[in-house]
Symmetry: C2
Subunit: 449 residues, 2 copies
């Protein structure tokens, strides 16, 4: 891999502080990357954070954008804005497509490169289709703002098209929503779509009864919320069914098109599908030519360094690391944040010549919302469900949002949803390629304008 | 024009109420169309409102979405949601492409059609390029949510690209923002972009000084805010210049590309341009084969009916109508709303066999925000400027927003902007075709994902 040394004029040249500071390059502005930058405040380093997007996304609530409950700017913030006080941090918008470990440079898609002394890879994961990438068009996943607005568009447009669809079979397909995968995201999507269809939209249509819309949650495993205690899985399934969600267990999806889904031998005509069944790590492992697991996760040492490269750390969804008891560290926000905290502490220790701390992941519990005032929390020993769990879920999420303005805005939105069944962000925006057989065709073209 | 009669099963067939009600079809869910529907509450009619978008847009604040001050869902609401209580109204998402006045049917792009007894055309206007439609790609206008997010994307991306641009000339072009047309929208865009560059973003970049960004406001006429009193124009220009906006008067733009703009013989390299110079009415006149003025506005009788078609009304930006004193009714929201009110009153009068009222437009004044705590208001006799005008401007706009939740959210956003210089919606989302010479190229491709 050839390295292009930028010209002296390039702003990508490190601007060494007094004595030339230790250069830390962080790739990715998610939970892990941001936490690393935050925890390095005041350290004698020069930080460059590069991301291919200008914004950090609060993944745990992204499904509420897809279901028209929250605005995009309530779950995403410009990375520059988050780090605005930090003179020691440079934020760059750019796409990394490789790492030259010999010359210690991060390579960018446009030919530029970023020299580092310590590299932190926090590049996250994308959804995965188990070798069926052709399913992505039919069943998009939920990882980016664009994913969320695409799903929001498809979900809302399905009702609009059904309202104008004279053919009953086509109307039924438009009013059938399929969520693949019953992890937290799948459970939350299915529950919220059911509330949207059966409660929020019901009074607003004349030709269709949105309460008759079908919402299916298809899980290949034996139960919903597989990572949670059985009692919570059973509760979650019962509550989902009370909301009108049809739960199908033990049958993987074997085919997925814009017109139908096949699972357990049955073919179901459906026009809106959401993929929440699996993720694949970013190509960080390929950049380094380092070993990765089946899901593409970079295998790192217990101190989160890449074997053979003590100067390279990797954290969050992009890595596979075992806990003390041998169980894997889960791919959730708190794990990424704890990873970032550990990396920052290690860099500080190394600069001070102290021994680096060991990384110990502390599981703070698993939370999932099922529907209005219904949630489950698995703290391990303690398990909560129902309204009390929902209040803890809500308060915890509002607490972890960035900025008082957002906390206030989200709280107000939730208040409106729960007291008036109004969802604030029901906008069909941005065009997309038209699915075969879509009608009314004029509508899609017009919206695509 | 051939009419396709829908099958008996089509939901587009009117579903006559007891005795078969008078069918009113409203085309367009803007200020005029919505007001017509609202004012017909309780009348003995069956209303169908059709729009090619699912949402109503609060146009007067759309520029704040383009400048990252407000979220899209704070200036747009689903039309169904606004009319949710109204059993007598059917809302349809569809694109109208003609009217068959003989059979009294509105023709939709997908071949369906809507029968009417009374038709209300409230289809608005798009921006116009005076015969230079090729300029639209370089200098988009601001009429839709997509327009606003495209401009937001271009404005924010220009700073990101400048931060990574080693070539000084290219960096200067990236940091040059041109607003064409100094009406209220142009003035508000220019003032807000200047505040964004010179205040909000200043602390967040390392390689560039955003305070050096140039914001030009180019007006072909002799002064800014041409429709306002001279004293307010002079004040607005002085305030814009205090904000660092370079105002150019009396020189039309003669060329516009993604790389530069030409006006008054000078060629200025600039990578971000906004078009606020003119509008053209929707093709309603063409649908009817009726006379229109230079801007494509349908010429209607003083009672807002189309000559020769007492059953067809047209209101808002799509029409040209004279006031009692001969001056034209301006193309602003209050005029569209008053038109809708008049049409509803006329329909009620006709159904009751009463004489229809005459349409009298009452000008309530012109408002424009220039910048932080600076605005101008022209009530005709009374003229206000500065902080007092800004407070009236702000309160008036919050009052006219739809729903308490939005009012609260917008008020909070403005509070944050004015107390903390934080803008809440600084998201670069959705891809677009890459402009020639754009770099870093990787970035755009990545964002387009």
């Amino acid at each position: 891999m050839s390295i292009q040394t930028p010209s002296a004029a390039s702003p990508l040249q490190p601007r060494p502080g007094p004595g030339g500071k230790h250069r830390v390059v962080i790739v990715g502005g998610g939970f892990g990357g941001l936490e690393t930058a935050k925890r390095l405040r005041g350290a004698d380093v020069e930080i460059t954070l590069v991301d291919q997007r200008n914004h950090h996304i609060f993944q745990p609530l992204l499904y509420q954008v897809a279901t028209a409950s929250l605005a995009t700017s309530e779950v995403a913030w410009p990375i520059r804005g988050i780090l605005r006080g930090r003179e020691d941090v440079r934020v760059l918008l750019g796409t990394v497509n490789g790492v030259d470990t010999a010359s210690r440079r991060v390579l960018l898609a446009d030919g530029d490169s970023l020299p580092y002394d310590t590299l932190v890879l926090a590049t996250g994961a994308r959804h995965a289709y188990f070798g069926h990438d052709e399913w992505e068009d039919a069943a998009p996943g939920l990882k980016t703002i664009e994913d969320a607005t695409l799903l929001r568009r498809r979900i809302l447009l399905a009702f609009e098209q059904a309202e104008r669809e004279p053919d009953p079979a086509r109307r039924d397909a438009l009013l059938t929503f399929v969520v693949v995968g019953a992890g937290p995201t799948g459970v939350e999507m299915a529950g919220t779509i059911a509330e949207l269809a059966h409660v929020t939209l019901a009074p607003e249509f004349r030709s269709i009864d949105t309460r008759k819309a079908r919402v299916l949650l298809i899980e290949a495993g034996p139960r919903v919320l597989g990572g949670y205690h059985e009692s919570l899985s059973a509760y979650a399934q019962a509550e989902l069914e009370r909301l009108g969600v049809e739960v199908s267990l033990g049958q993987p999806v074997t085919e997925c098109t814009r017109d139908h889904v096949v699972f357990g031998g049955t073919t179901l005509p459906a026009r809106t599908m959401i993929w929440a069944a699996g993720v694949r790590a970013s190509p960080a492992a390929e950049w380094l030519g380092a070993p990765a697991d089946r899901a593409g996760r970079l295998e790192v040492a217990p101190d989160l360094t890449v074997p053979g490269h003590p100067e390279i750390f990797a954290i969050g969804d992009t890595v596979s690391v075992a806990r003390a008891d041998g169980r894997p560290v889960p791919g959730i926000a708190p794990a990424a944040k704890q990873g970032g905290r550990h990396v920052a502490a290690t860099i500080r220790a190394r600069l001070a010549g102290r021994d680096a701390p060991r990384f110990r992941y502390i599981h703070q519990g698993s939370l999932a919302q099922i529907g209005k005032r219904k949630a489950v929390i698995d703290f391990g020993r303690i398990r909560l469900r129902g309204a009390i769990a929902w209040w803890i879920w809500g308060i915890a999420h509002i607490f972890f949002l960035i900025g008082m303005r957002t906390r206030l805005a989200v709280a107000v939105n939730w208040l409106w949803i729960h007291t008036r069944n109004q969802r604030s962000a029901r906008l069909i925006t941005q065009g997309e390629a038209q699915a075969p057989g879509d009608r009314p065709s004029g509508t899609l073209r017009a919206d695509a304008a």
